[in-house]
């Protein structure tokens, strides 16, 4: 049911959400959009991923969220490749009957995408390039689910 897209191209949150949740018994839509920050003079970010596994890993996370919160609709878009500060990296959207389920499912998707979907971020700044280190708090965030 949920839609998953892994792509190099930029996307537009507004047009992606046209018709989202339509036809379901939807009272609540939550979305989250991740954006490249220009912190510390970072000039660009590159995201590497694991073609094949990426789509399957996200689909599994989506299926778990749909089952657990009885979602009426679900969307995940995640980019890879090069992007500049201000560009959208990814988005999730969840549609459900009530607001608590929509919010919780969106947070669950984000927590699992952070630590369980095979993406790796590399930042390019004035001091050169560096792989973004995974944060303990991101791994810890999974324990709440």
């Amino acid at each position: 049911m949920g839609r998953v897209r892994v792509q190099r191209e930029p996307f537009d949150s507004g047009s992606e959400l046209e018709g989202f949740g339509a036809g379901g018994d939807v009272g609540a839509i939550a979305t989250f959009t991740g954006i490249v920050r220009g912190t510390g003079g970072m000039s660009r970010m590159e995201i590497e991923h694991y073609p094949g596994m990426t789509e399957a890993a996200i689909a599994k996370i989506v299926a778990e969220a749909e089952a657990r919160w009885g979602l009426e609709d679900c969307l995940v878009i995640h980019r890879h490749g090069a992007m500049a500060p201000g560009e959208r990296i990814m988005m999730v959207a969840t549609a459900s009957r009530h607001r608590a389920a929509a919010f919780e499912a969106a947070e669950y998707l984000m927590d699992y995408l952070k630590s369980r979907a095979p993406f790796w971020k590399k930042e390019f700044g004035p001091d050169g390039a560096a792989w973004v280190a995974a944060k303990d708090e991101d791994e810890d965030a999974l324990s709440r689910w």
Binding site: E48, M110, K114, P118, W120, W131
Partner: protein, 82 residues
């Protein structure tokens, strides 16, 4: 024969994104030992397993996972998606 894939800084240390590996290793850990013994770049990439994650046939798993019937093994650092 296995396809072995490397991502992010593991790929950079080893110097290539994937290779075919002839191995009799029974587990991922045994495969890692074989690779470490090859060359310094492998020993460097696999120096600290706690900093690595492994997927077997595109499923996250542990280093004691068996390799019987497996086609593809991938090594990479903890993921930083989202």
């Amino acid at each position: 024969m296995l396809d072995v894939l490397y991502f992010a800084w593991v790929r950079e240390r080893i110097g290539e994104p994937r290779e075919r590996v002839e191995t009799q290793a029974a587990t991922v850990a045994e495969l890692v030992d074989e690779l470490r013994a090859r060359e310094a770049r492998y020993a460097l990439a696999f120096a600290d397993l706690s900093a690595l994650r492994v997927a077997v046939d595109q499923e996250l798993t542990e280093f004691d996972a068996p390799l019987s019937g497996v086609r593809e093994v991938a090594f990479f650092p903890p993921m930083t998606g989202g």
